[in-house]
């Protein structure tokens, strides 16, 4: 998975080794202020899932521990995030608070919320399209609140998102499941 948005560039690669756990690597180069680089192994855990007749709700935890680097200063990096989402074939909602500790480089808390609607109900072999709206809150950044309208497409195991944020950054995200 790769995310390029107003916060920077993120790349992660994960292997799902049990039905509820995945292990992988997380790399992030931040922008919008300090150009911090973070490299950590990560573990993603499905904490709770609700399978409903017309939807699914989930709570995930994602956590990593590794190193952060900024202007020749290397520090321990620890981060954890919780992601709660609900998705039906028509609606999508998510909320994610994230806590980051990069030693004396940065300590931050940020949160992200998304709402999405599918303009048509696609089946398995169809191209799925979502119109989404994302709001980020970064108390430690120059732009505390950033809004990003975006379009999500996915087809089978390929996901692609493109958007444009209120602080004038292009968002391009992609994800492939193997």
């Amino acid at each position: 998975m790769q995310e390029n948005d107003e916060t920077g560039h993120t790349f992660s690669f994960d292997y799902t080794f049990t039905p509820t756990e995945a292990f992988g690597f997380y790399f992030k180069q931040e922008e919008n202020g300090k150009e911090i680089m973070m490299l950590t192994p990560e573990i993603n855990t499905l904490l709770k899932r609700w399978n409903l007749p017309d939807g699914q709700g989930n709570i995930f935890n994602m956590s990593g521990a590794g190193v952060a680097y900024f202007r020749a200063n290397t520090q321990p990096s620890l981060w954890t995030a919780f992601l709660a989402d609900y998705e039906s074939r028509r609606w999508f909602f998510s909320y994610e608070p994230r806590f980051v500790y990069d030693g004396n480089i940065e300590k931050s808390v940020w949160q992200r919320a998304r709402i999405g609607i599918a303009p048509y109900l696609a089946d398995y072999n169809d191209l799925n399209t979502w119109i989404m709206f994302q709001v980020d809150h970064h108390p430690a950044k120059h732009d505390h609140f950033v809004a990003t309208p975006l379009i999500r497409f996915f087809y089978k195991t390929y996901l692609f998102e493109i958007g444009y944020s209120s602080n004038q950054h292009v968002m391009v995200n992609w994800q492939i499941q193997f």
Binding site: P19, N51, L52, Q56, D123, Y124, K156, Q177
Partner: protein, 94 residues
């Protein structure tokens, strides 16, 4: 008469030997293509399975077994649980 019975016996035996199950599982939580792909991949990896079809609208996973192969309900439930979904009902036809 004896010849007729033998012929019928062979035909019946052939029919029984050539039978395969079509299993329709109604599944909760299946809302996206990612879900469907995971389920399809899981079932295709089973040696008993001939075909898999996922219908998001109907909330159905349809599995056809290979000739003379069987996939019991407990295994189907476990495979779908491991894929992250809940089984509501399983119906079978020969």
């Amino acid at each position: 008469m004896k010849k007729y019975l033998i012929t019928m016996g062979i035909m019946f035996g052939f029919t029984a030997a050539a039978s395969a199950d079509t299993i329709k599982a109604t599944v909760n939580g299946m809302v996206c293509g990612f879900c469907a792909t995971g389920i399809e991949k899981t079932f295709k990896a089973q040696p008993e399975v001939q075909t898999v079809n996922v219908d998001l609208k109907g909330k159905l996973v349809t599995v056809t077994t290979k000739t003379d192969q069987n996939l019991d309900d407990s295994k189907i439930k476990q495979l779908l649980k491991n894929s992250g979904y809940s089984v509501v009902n399983i119906a079978r036809t020969k």
